[in-house]
């Protein structure tokens, strides 16, 4: 896979992709959007259901399924048994799973550096104090 001339590097996902997560019962639904096709294709082999499940550890007790929405350069991960009982029964602070995206975005993934660095998130300016 990685036999081209490009530089590949371990990069945290929050610097490259968009993501939104939410709940449905006790399942968490996480979408991941790549800034370009090259990153999307890299994620196909890097951001597998196995790696996602492993990353979440105890937080995701059930299965992880992946779907693809090609025109939007998106993968969607459905994580079962992942909210400590689901929205209205969960004791967690994040009972609706809205921060599960942030938790996924911590993951470091091997990506082609040049394609990753074109993401607007890669070059976020230093925060200003308003």
């Amino acid at each position: 896979m990685i036999n081209d001339q490009k530089t590949w590097q371990e990069i945290p996902l929050y610097k490259v992709v968009q993501s939104r997560s939410g709940d449905k019962g006790d399942a968490v639904d996480i979408s991941v959007f790549s800034p370009n096709r090259e990153i999307h294709e890299a994620l196909r082999s890097e951001l597998t259901t196995e790696r996602v499940k492993q990353h979440f550890g105890d937080y995701v007790k059930g299965s992880v399924t992946r779907y693809e929405i090609p025109n939007l350069l998106a993968f969607k991960y459905i994580c079962k048994d992942a909210l400590g009982g689901g929205g209205s029964g969960s004791l967690r602070s994040d009972n609706l799973g809205k921060s599960m995206s942030a938790n996924l975005l911590r993951m470091k993934v091997k990506l082609p550096l040049e394609a990753a660095s074109t993401s607007i998130l890669y070059n976020k300016p230093q925060g200003e104090i308003l």
Binding site: Q18, D29, F56, Y67, S88, G89, S93, N103, P125
Partner: protein, 455 residues
């Protein structure tokens, strides 16, 4: 070419009214659609109705409608809301009466009833309808407690029937969030209810709009720091043309952002299998969906496909899930995290001494791992300025929930130094278990009706 313009007015019970007022101020909207019902909301409304049979609708509904009615009537904008909750008839009456008391006459409110099936459950069960929970597989007969509420998700046909009264406002109970959009689009453009691609496109429009700010630059994970004027965010609007073309936008001059990058996050939000997003009206296939930036704050939605409506409807029940009780205590640097962790151990021993019975205990360190869980790395102790220990139990008896909260105030002086944030640190409430099943659509034949109240 014929077209219809719909806008989002509310994304949830408790949402701001300002975006609706701004949408009406800017004008050009045919239908303003509100979603007020999350799963838990019906449990709250059931308690209201138990106290007074005239209640059971979202309490803020009459006053919200009063504030919107003058401009909506002037513009000819029809409002559609599911805020009728468990009592759409009384909600409709309350809106008309409050408007009249404030000098607004000639108000017509249509309402939809029939989704509340709590009283039919026993009959259905003895008729052999399968009411087992589709998530757990548990049998309905095994229920310890009777449900707090039981509602069937109704689709757009019920709202279309209400729109025939030519109302100012349509109030429903548990209709789907997206039906509030499909119904007016279908009524206005007149396509057949089995034109599955057009119906699916209208549902996708509803899905993009129904969460309000989340579809206009709120909660945006792209370049969020560049989204302007979120204090005056405009909720999304959509213009749907007779030939199926759809343009998503927002009221001119409002804050937030409409773009492909913003909308793609909302389009896939909470839909699970994108090839099979099931609604009572149509099964939506988003496999080939696309969003195209066509101008500033203007995006075209393309490629939505539809498959025939499913033979069954979703029935949701709320079951009493016992109690939750939660307490917090904030520790300051130095050694904030270590102190919080030691205090959690003290709390556990105190629970044992007091004999508190509980089903589940969740210990979180706010500022360290309360939303990151096991994915959040442990910080260097010296970098932790402060940390809040949050401990929560689930229990069956109210007495245990009360006993748990009583353990907290003494911890503020009996444990470790430099605590803060001691006001409003206790929370107690009831928990809800959801029960979902699929029932044959034909069970609802003749049960759903639309009526009207007017002044």
């Amino acid at each position: 070419m014929k077209s219809v313009k719909v806008a989002c007015g509310q994304g949830f019970y408790g949402d701001s009214l300002r975006p609706s007022l701004r949408a009406l101020e800017v004008g050009g909207i045919d239908y303003l659609c509100f979603d007020a019902l999350a799963e838990l909301t019906l449990a709250i409304l059931a308690k209201d109705r138990a106290k007074n049979p005239e209640f059971g609708y979202t309490k803020d509904l009459p006053d919200m409608m009063l504030q919107l009615l003058p401009q909506a009537k002037k513009n000819g904008t029809v409002i559609i809301t599911n805020g009728g909750g468990l009592n759409p008839a009384c909600a409709a009456k309350a809106i008309v009466e409050l408007a009249k008391a404030n000098g607004i006459e000639g108000v017509r409110v249509a309402y939809v009833e029939g989704d509340d099936v709590l009283d039919s459950l026993n009959q259905w069960q003895s008729d052999g309808v399968d009411l087992s929970d589709y998530d757990s597989g548990a049998e309905f007969t095994a229920l310890k407690d009777s449900p707090i509420f039981a509602n069937v998700y109704l689709g757009a046909d019920s709202i279309c029937a209400a729109l025939k009264f030519n109302p100012d406002i349509v109030v429903t109970g548990r209709t789907t969030d997206t039906a509030a959009y499909l119904a007016p689009i279908q009524s206005a453009l007149g396509f057949a209810s089995d034109d599955w691609d057009k119906a699916a496109t209208a549902i996708a429009v509803g899905h993009l709009l129904e969460c309000g700010g989340q579809g206009a630059g709120g909660n945006f994970s792209g370049d969020w720091w560049n989204v302007e004027n979120l204090h005056d965010i405009g909720y999304p609007t959509a213009e749907i043309f007779e030939d199926g073309r759809v343009i998503i936008s927002k009221p001119e001059g409002t804050g937030g952002r409409i773009s492909r990058d913003v909308l793609k996050e909302q389009l896939l939000y909470e839909i699970h299998d994108p090839s099979c997003y099931i609604t009572p009206d149509v099964i939506v296939d988003l496999t080939d969906v696309d969003l195209v930036d066509i101008g500033e704050n203007q995006v075209e939605l393309k490629g939505v496909k539809g498959n025939p409506a499913p033979p069954s409807l979703k029935l949701i029940m709320g079951l009493p899930g016992g109690w939750m009780s939660s307490g917090q205590i904030a520790f300051s640097w130095p050694y904030a995290l270590e102190k919080a962790e030691r205090t959690a151990e003290i709390l556990k021993k105190r629970m044992q001494t007091e004999g508190i019975n509980y089903d589940d205990l969740e210990i979180e360190y706010v500022g360290v791992n309360s939303i990151g869980g096991p994915t959040a790395p442990r910080p260097d102790e010296d970098s932790v300025n402060e940390v809040v220990l949050r401990a929560t139990i689930a229990c069956q008896q109210q007495g245990d929930a009360v006993a748990f909260r009583k353990l907290f105030p003494p911890l503020y002086i009996n444990t470790y130094p430099f605590v803060g944030g001691l006001r409003n640190m206790l929370h107690m409430g009831s928990l809800l278990n959801q029960w979902s099943c699929l029932v044959p659509r034909t069970l609802m034949d003749g049960c759903v009706s639309a009526n009207v109240v007017e002044s």
